[in-house]
Symmetry: C2
Subunit: 576 residues, 2 copies
């Protein structure tokens, strides 16, 4: 349960503001996240970490000497947008290049990847290191395709320490991948977390059961087992991470960084009871723990669970693991005196260009689109907890808030554009940008691209917006999603519903745009049903499939729901 | 919910062992608690903190340079025994005197006080500083009679920093009291914690309510209010602690250490949302926060709640608050290099003397007493959650486990003594020592004293144990409780049932010891009823009375229950 909140929509932002107020000696706010309050030497590599909020101390709590230079902070469990990442990196770049480090999730890969492309185009040397320590999420041969959980900490710690010693960009990137390749985590969950403003947790396990292989976004685990004693849980975790212990020699001599991480409501005394057994088991296995950490390092709001991480150390990794660090939430050893305070930033909010000239017909079309976006936003809000529940089974739990926040921002941006006299093209392009920025997550990137591309296919100055224009715009939006998401029909993503929708829209066009839309929405629903079935089946068995990174996602279902909302509004307009 | 445990009776011990395994660079285990792993300079004042377990990082997490030298660790929510405190202090004394610092609770005051007496008799200069920061638990003019909650941290931090600077015993004691007198805390609870092995929390609030004025042992608060927003909660807490802000001048110029403490399941993001408002309010009041701490500093297992602490600083207190510290759970600034490791201790388990010679009659009486102690232990075990529930309303939540652990240890010690051929006196004296040591808490001290004194009134070598001997022993035990506890009939303590029990035992003696015992137990039950009524009424209104330190306690009820268990066994023996 989240007890303390004001408006749930403001929760992540207010938490970040409070964090900055509490730690002015460490951090200062910038659009999209936080930067070190102290200046860094010219030419030093900048380490930028990030991801959704709800994981404190990850990621903002690790900003400071010896660890990260900045954190990009998304909404709860939702990846930050590309625009947020771009803003933070632009503010922190010291001219030595930038490493972007984040957990391996589809949404983060998409948004940070887009930001990296844009920064490279602007002349910044950006490298990307994704953390993928969770042994439950893929097979050993696909270690870099796994998802990132508590392994975020040692990977960030390793790179931050290397930078403090003066490593260059290539070296920092190399060490980041090396640390990730040496890191293994397995977790167990007992009960799900509850998003602010919601009454029920994202998942609940049956009485006296536990989920093995937890995620940190409300994913309950890849299999269920009977609730076990602390010693049995310790054995399960140790066995899981030791299964991939490298052979001794070649630098590794049985020394390991050990992290026993509480997800939120498993408390310290319980962690120590488990650690007691972990230490015995490691000793039996001839492994020496190096500066173990037992506590809350990567949380998931109030989730009940814990995870065990081992980093198999050689001398190089060990010296970086034990090196000093001084951040709000992770302090170790003696840190060199801080560099002088950086001057306070003036926040650039990226003021909007004035709207381009538009025709009366295009402005009329823009007002119609505004109505559709309102219907979409209302429907997304109404289905918020439904989408969140679906996503807690299938994905990473952020789909409800992501769709709700994104569509609300799109509607507001469109209203502002229409009020300024924007045509259909500008209105839709601005709505798309606002959606991506406000929502984050995979769905935020895809819906943002959809609206932006659809808008790009329209005109601000045409004399008429025809049925053919509408269909062409929808098809352009769809193409953008196909290109960006890289999914095909049958992959159990939004595309499963999008493609039949577009096909029907085209084939039924003879009967009028509105009827075509309604028929298309119906077909989208039918197509989404197989995803819904799959989600329901997975909800029962809670076994993730081969592909672990967010598929099946509820995107097909939410797409069908929102297209129906537009169809319903078309129906109401007709009869009124 | 406590998810991770083995045998609940081993929970606190196993947690402490795991803690020591995780932090060998900071701490080493000793009987009764933990010591710094590093040696301290000869003549340095030793700061020994302590209290029940279940509050991590308090208290063991604060052992290290700049903070405490050792922690005495009781069972969950139960004060350590005097023997534990004596063991820890004896191991840590550097010849510069010792400050014992702990929260102001009856059980802790009793046990640490007994240990201090014994240490002083042994030539150690021991001072006692009790923390009493909770504004909800008493009126401003009785600040030192309040209970201690998150204020433990700044008081310990202040004294530890002073010691690191070379302060002598008088100076450390003065600064401890000064810090406590400058510290104010108010807390709010949303849901109670659940003791390991129990299914239900110690308390639950009604839907959409919160308890204002929480304690850290499962006490729900002194009044209930409707659940409020994060901003409203922040206002309530700020108003509560600012009500006792000292006037500016005389050293205080509007600078304050600020601690926003999560009790367990209120998570970091929520704390930051609240802190955002706290910082605004303090700014409005012209108060500058100095190195604020927002996190989990003094917890209460998985309790949902938070508290705000302000320490009104003058220059002296501020310099000690911001001074370096390096402990497992609290690190700040640069600490001087650690002193060399102290040699590992050989744990002295205080081996028992051989049992003194005994007569056949006294050994027979010892076997009878062993049977009674078995009945008591079985009854205490069976009533464990009943006593815990009563105590969560009336006191500090440790009564169930305390009675269960104590009576079990007493029974086991008596069995070992009987097996060695001990007479009645030695058997009962050893049972009493074992009870106090295993149970801790107020009840542990009182029951330990009761059995020890009763045993002392018997003989190991008499030819016969008469009815008169039994009554005299019971009266001697009762006198010890009255002397030690300082309570009178009507104070709603164990004494309320004890005194009528003894009176009836004496007055009904003509009818035989067994009948007299049954009649006495019945009267004890009747006498305990008014306490039961009061507890039930308080359970409804949840308003603590004038006297906040554990009265009314469920001691009268548990006394009556256990005496009845003995009476019942007497009945069974008669008929068999």
């Amino acid at each position: 349960m989240t007890w303390l909140l004001n408006d749930p929509a403001d929760f992540a932002r207010e938490a970040l503001e409070g964090f900055c107020a509490a730690h002015p000696e460490y951090v200062q706010a910038v659009r999209g996240g936080v930067l070190r309050a102290t200046a860094s030497p010219e030419g030093e590599v900048a380490l930028v970490v990030g991801g959704g909020s709800g994981h404190y101390p990850a990621f903002a709590g690790w900003v400071g000497p010896g660890m990260a230079h900045a954190a990009v902070c998304g909404n709860l469990f939702a990846s930050p947008s590309a625009s947020q990442a771009h803003s933070v990196v632009s503010s922190v770049d010291n001219g030595g290049g930038v490493v972007l480090a984040f957990g391996n999730y589809a949404g983060d890969v998409l948004h940070f990847g887009q930001a990296a492309e844009r920064l490279r185009a602007e002349g910044v040397d950006v490298r990307v290191v994704t953390v993928s320590d969770d042994v439950a999420s893929n097979t050993p041969d696909k270690h870099r395709d796994r998802r990132g959980i508590a392994g975020d900490l040692p990977v960030v710690k390793t790179m931050g320490a290397a930078i403090a010693r003066g490593a260059d960009l290539d070296e920092v990137e190399r060490l980041g991948w090396k640390a990730n390749d040496a890191t293994r985590t397995l977790g167990v969950a007992f009960d799900g977390c509850t998003l602010p403003g919601q009454d029920a947790p994202l998942f609940s396990l049956r009485e006296r059961r536990m989920g093995v292989g937890l995620g940190i976004h409300g994913e309950p685990g890849v299999r269920e087992e009977p609730l076990a004693s602390a010693a049995e849980v310790a054995d399960l975790l140790v066995d899981g991470v030791l299964a991939e212990e490298p052979s001794r020699g070649a630098g590794y001599a049985g020394r390991a960084a050990v992290i026993l991480n509480g997800l939120g409501t498993v408390k310290y005394e319980e962690l120590f009871v488990v650690y007691r057994r972990v230490a015995q088991r490691l000793q039996d296995a001839g492994i020496t723990p190096v500066q173990p950490e037992v506590g809350e390092l990567v949380t998931s709001l109030d989730m009940a669970g814990l995870s065990l991480t081992l980093v198999y150390l050689d001398d190089e990794l060990e010296s970086l693991w034990v090196a000093p660090a001084d951040t709000p939430a992770f302090r170790r050893g003696e840190v060199r005196p801080s560099a002088p305070r950086r001057p306070p930033l003036v926040e650039e909010e990226g003021g909007q260009e004035p709207v381009p000239p538009s025709s009366e017909a295009s402005r009329r079309a823009a007002r119609t689109l505004l109505g559709h976006l309102e219907a979409v936003a209302e429907s997304a809000k109404g289905h918020e907890s439904h989408f969140a529940t679906l996503d807690s089974v299938a994905g990473d739990g952020d789909h409800g808030q992501g769709m709700s926040f994104g569509s609300k921002a799109a509607h507001e941006a469109a209203r502002a554009a229409v009020a300024e006299g924007a045509g259909a093209r500008t209105t839709l392009v601005r709505a798309g940008a606002a959606w991506a920025d406000a929502a984050g997550g995979t769905s935020g990137a895809l819906w943002g691209a959809l609206l932006t591309a659809a808008g790009g296919a329209l005109s601000d100055e045409s004399d008429e917006t025809t049925k053919e224009d509408v269909i062409r715009a929808a098809e352009a939006g769809g193409q953008a999603v196909l290109r960006l998401g890289g999914a095909a029909v049958g992959d159990k993503t939004m595309v499963d519903a999008l493609v039949p929708f577009l096909r029907t829209l085209r084939s039924e066009a003879s009967g009028g745009a509105d009827e075509a839309w309604r028929a298309a929405a119906t077909h989208a629903h039918e197509a989404a049903e197989s995803t819904a079935d799959l989600v329901a089946r997975r909800g029962r068995s809670r076994v993730l499939g081969e592909r672990s990174l967010g598929t099946p996602d509820p995107g097909a279902i939410s797409f069908a729901v929102l297209m129906s909302a537009v169809a319903e509004r078309l129906g109401r307009e007709e009869t009124s």
